[in-house]
């Protein structure tokens, strides 16, 4: 029964969350955006109290069903494990407590200290997001482009094509390595990752020890056939002692289905004596988990011929002293503290502005750059999709005066001076009219007109940088602000 409910639900969540990362049209988010927001770590990061309470209660009542249904990385492991044709291959193993508590401790420290890249590396949802957006989305987009090609052939506008590009090599490598590691572990031993490394699994494990519903042995019916143990992907059932380690059990129900004698049940029962002995420890664990949430909360306060096309050099990325973080992220610090590097904003950015950071301390977290587009005034997509509170929800009106950086003019690159032409494309496209064309030489009325930037009005959207004709380096580029502000 448990299994029959679990599998369809898991499929729905898995497909839904995956679609969130694949979709580049902005259509799916409207319907399925909540699936990202109920993920555990994003909810903790966003201090989404309702979701946290809900997940804690869910686990308290049903055990770690979160890991079997909601967590996309968990389901990825189930899928990979299932592909292994060898049956009855699991064995019971003791909990590797030293490892999982160490990882959990490190994880808590990274959160408190705001070392975003490490937090992101350990977050299961973020890890899945990186795999989906780096490895699956390109395939999805190529398919879309193929359909767009066919649609174009028939004069249809049902599909449109979108450029597929490598946004960050380090993040791509992280995604590949994560996938390979997860796949190897899952292929061999099922949920090893969940029960030794995953900090979310460990956290929920504290609660699931005392959950109301759990897998229980009926020793009188058990014939010691070992089918439950050899089919437990969490390696948490020891048929010899008739014990289940509930901190590791993900409540998948496979054991219940495999047991021919009805010796295993997933049932509600008052605590037995044996469980009583463990209450203290569990209580302590629960308190620790709550403390972690609280700690996170505190941390968050803060000869001319006719025809032909001129070749165009590719844009080079300028070296920005301060990286630009998307509007709504409040500050570089807020971003570093909250972001789990899931890539949901990056994979959905319609203007090709966001990409994962390659900087060591903020690795995989989104930063902005304007080689392929600029942060268009009507778009607030990233602020809408972010499940972690790293990018807070803003609307287009707020965005129009939100200063995330400011433009800087580089005279040596400006075509007005290098090519001796009139230009002003930056000034024409500035959405806040922060750029004024002035005489290069204030004392000479005949001198060419060059841009001057009113830093008090510039919002750092990058329209000027993106549309600047100078190549490969723009003559005007945006420096980020550590703290965003409005004017």
């Amino acid at each position: 029964m448990l299994r029959k409910i679990r599998i369809p639900l898991a499929v729905i969540f898995y497909v839904g969350v995956t679609l969130l990362f694949l979709d580049y049209t902005g259509a799916v988010h409207h319907w399925l955006g909540w699936m990202a927001k109920i993920q555990f770590l994003p909810a903790v990061s966003a201090l989404n109290v309702l979701v946290i309470i809900g997940l804690v209660l869910l686990t308290f009542v049903f055990g770690r069903v979160y890991c079997s249904i909601i967590c996309p990385l968990g389901i990825t492991q189930d899928i990979i494990a299932r592909l292994n044709p060898k049956k009855n291959r699991y064995t019971y193993s003791k909990a590797k407590n030293w490892l999982r508590y160490t990882v959990w401790g490190v994880f808590a420290v990274t959160i408190v200290l705001g070392i975003g890249s490490l937090t992101a590396l350990l977050d299961p949802y973020g890890a899945f997001g990186r795999i989906a957006s780096n490895l699956l989305q390109p395939v999805w987009m190529w398919l879309g482009n193929l359909l767009a090609g066919i649609a174009e052939h028939y004069g249809s506008y049902a599909f449109y094509s979108k450029e597929v590009w490598l946004k960050s090599l380090p993040t791509f490598i992280v995604a590949v390595v994560t996938l390979v590691a997860i796949a190897v572990l899952a292929w061999r031993n099922g949920r090893t990752y969940c029960n030794t490394i995953c900090p979310v699994g460990t956290t929920l494990g504290f609660i699931s020890r005392i959950s109301l519903f759990k897998i229980r042995f009926d020793e009188s019916k058990c014939k010691n056939c070992s089918m439950c143990t050899t089919n437990c992907k969490a390696s948490c059932i020891d048929y010899k002692t008739h014990s289940v380690d509930h901190s590791r059990c993900v409540a998948c129900g496979d054991c219940v289905a495999k047991c021919k004698f009805g010796a295993l049940r997933y049932s509600f029962a008052p605590c037995s004596k044996k469980a009583d002995a463990k209450v203290d420890e569990s209580k302590r664990a629960f308190l620790t988990a709550s403390a972690m949430v609280a700690a996170t909360a505190m941390a968050q306060e803060t000869k001319k011929v006719d025809g032909g096309l001129a070749p165009l050099l590719d844009r080079s990325v300028p070296e920005r002293k301060t990286p630009i973080t998307p509007p709504g992220s409040l500050s570089a610090r807020n971003m570093a503290r909250h972001c789990t590097g899931c890539q949901l904003c990056v994979s959905g950015c319609p203007n090709k502005v966001l990409r994962p950071s390659t900087d060591l301390t903020t690795m995989m977290q989104p930063v902005m750059s304007y080689e392929k587009g600029y942060c268009r005034p009507e778009c607030t997509h990233c602020s809408e999709v972010c499940p972690t509170g790293a990018i807070r929800k803003i609307d287009a009106v707020e965005k129009s005066s939100l200063q995330i950086g400011r433009a800087v003019w580089v005279a040596a690159n400006c075509v007005v001076l290098t090519d001796d032409v009139s230009c002003g494309n930056c000034a024409r496209h500035c959405p806040t009219q922060a750029i004024e064309m002035v005489h290069a030489n204030p004392n000479n009325e005949a001198s060419p007109m060059v841009p001057s930037i009113n830093e008090n009005r510039c919002i750092g959207c990058g329209a000027c940088e993106n549309l600047c004709p100078a190549r490969p380096f723009s003559a005007i580029y945006v420096e980020g602000y550590e703290e965003h502000h409005s004017y």
């Binding site: 049209t25 902005g26 174009e152 506008y157 449109y160 094509s161 000869k303 001319k304 011929v305 006719d306 025809g307 032909g308 096309l309 001129a310 070749p311 165009l312 319609p350 587009g373 268009r376 005034p377 009507e378 778009c379 997509h381 075509v415 090519d419 032409v421 009139s422 230009c423 002003g424 494309n425 024409r428 496209h429 549309l467 004709p469």
Partner: protein, 468 residues
């Protein structure tokens, strides 16, 4: 252009198939009909030999074919024409086209050192050199547009090089290329101050140039000035833009341009023959919106849309030849059918075409012919691509201009998708910096940066109304 010919071809094919089938059915009743019908079909599809219309040049008695071959859209390897593509010219195909044209009576070939991204003269020379020198007239130009070519040495180099490329020792028709573009300053810089015009007059005396003339676009002051000097220079011919739209509406569409009626009349007053360019306005008069195309088809179901424009351009008596830049054999055959034999438009047909012209003016499209003289834009903008896309949507009535329109959302999406399909984003209107370098090259005198800015703002407004 392309579509027209394909449709004509398939149209003829289906007519042919249908008639043959009908003929086969009725053959049992009336013998001999089948062959008659087949002949009719052949007459529609295959231009006859020996029927070409000719005009006589009053100054020296040259018998010039009314259809002239413009060598500015020659085919390239791998398909398409040399104006769009960087590929090399498909010389074998050019030879075939030239052979076929000469066989059917075409004897005027018009090229320039700038055509086909600089490849045209060489290719023309190769194709024509295979024919006796007295079988063709070749026209080329002093195309010293870039200020770097304005000096006497550079201009002279360009002039001498034409002889080498064309493999001839005299040029039948030599033109000052595109005077009027850039106004009097340009004319003085390119031809007067460096003494090139006087030199060319001397060359005519020496017989290396048989006819001296100029091609005109743009500033009317330059045209008037050169004609006022007719007594001094004795222009043998002048090349002007003439078609049923420009006859009376060139000025109405763009106040910087002059009606063809004025240009032609001024030449006639002085007895100077006109060579006609842009009879089709770069294809705009063949790619009419469907409701106008249908009007033409109702009057003459079997004539192509383009043939109307060619008949119109060839009708005035003072026209020496009508140039057409033909890329494909289909273009050539279709045009030959119009001129072999030639039927001038009647007064009534002429009025009908002016009515069509009036409709086109009312559409307020950007008067771009896709001639690509403005290209390449040094900042990479695909100027004619952007204008052609805009005009196409305007013609088809699919511009999403009215937000209250029930189809607005769909039209908006289609416009935004189609512009990205047509033009790479780096070459779109928002990247136009407004340097105005293109403007003086535009034979239609379009205020290019101004139109770009308008389109840019239009697209930006569409984008601001949501995501695609």
């Amino acid at each position: 252009m392309k579509n027209k010919n394909i449709s004509r071809r398939s149209f003829l094919k289906s007519i042919g198939a249908a008639t043959v089938a009908t003929a086969a059915l009725s053959a049992c009743r009336r013998t001999g009909v089948a062959s008659e019908v087949t002949n009719d079909y052949n007459n529609l599809a295959e231009p006859p030999i020996g029927q070409m219309a000719y005009r006589t040049n009053p100054t020296n008695g040259d018998r010039v074919s009314l259809l002239g071959y413009g060598m500015m859209r020659l085919p390239v390897e791998g398909g398409g024409s040399a104006r769009e593509s960087k590929s090399v010219i498909d010389q074998e195909q050019v030879n075939r086209l030239v052979d076929y044209a000469i066989e059917h009576g075409v004897n005027y070939f018009d090229t320039s050192p700038t055509y086909c991204q600089g490849q045209s003269e060489t290719s023309t020379g190769i194709a024509l050199h295979r024919h006796p020198r007295d079988k063709y007239f070749v026209a080329t130009k002093l195309s010293n547009f870039a200020p770097a070519n304005w000096s006497r040495e550079e201009s002279m180099k360009m002039y001498r090089n034409s002889f080498r490329q064309l493999q001839v020792d005299y040029i039948d028709y030599y033109l000052l290329h595109g005077i009027g573009m850039g106004g009097m300053d340009n004319l003085n810089g390119r031809y007067i101050d460096n003494g090139m015009l006087d030199f060319l007059v001397d060359e005519r005396k020496a017989g290396r140039i048989r006819n001296l003339g100029f091609s005109y676009h743009g500033d009317i002051a330059v045209f008037d000035y050169l004609l006022s000097q007719h007594d001094k220079y004795h222009w043998d011919f002048v090349q002007i833009e003439l078609n049923y739209l420009d006859w009376d509406y060139a000025n109405e569409i763009n106040d910087r341009n002059t009606d063809a009626r004025y240009l032609y009349d001024e030449l006639q007053k002085r007895g100077i023959p006109s060579v006609i360019m842009e009879p089709l306005l770069g294809g705009r008069l063949s790619n009419l919106p469907q409701y106008l195309a249908a009007e033409l088809k109702r009057r003459a179901p079997q004539s192509t849309i383009a043939s109307w424009a060619f008949r119109y351009a060839g009708t005035p008596e003072g026209v020496l030849t009508v140039l057409s830049g033909m890329t494909y054999m289909e273009h050539l055959k279709d045009n030959l059918l119009t001129y072999c034999p030639f039927q001038p438009v009647t007064t009534e047909e002429e009025q009908f075409l002016y009515h069509i012209a009036e409709e086109i003016v009312g559409m307020e499209t950007i008067p771009c012919n896709d001639c690509k003289y403005c290209m390449p834009c040094p900042y990479g903008i695909d100027i004619p691509g952007i204008f052609t896309h805009y005009n196409k949507c305007k013609n088809e009535g699919t511009l999403p201009t009215n937000t209250n329109n029930e189809n607005y959302a769909r039209l908006r999406r289609e416009y935004l998708i189609s512009i990205d399909r047509t033009i790479p984003s780096l070459r779109q209107a928002d990247h136009c910096i407004g340097c105005h370098q293109c403007e003086e090259h535009c034979p239609q005198n379009i205020r290019i940066p101004y139109e770009m800015d308008k389109i840019d703002k239009f697209i930006d407004k569409l984008k601001r109304n949501g995501i695609v």
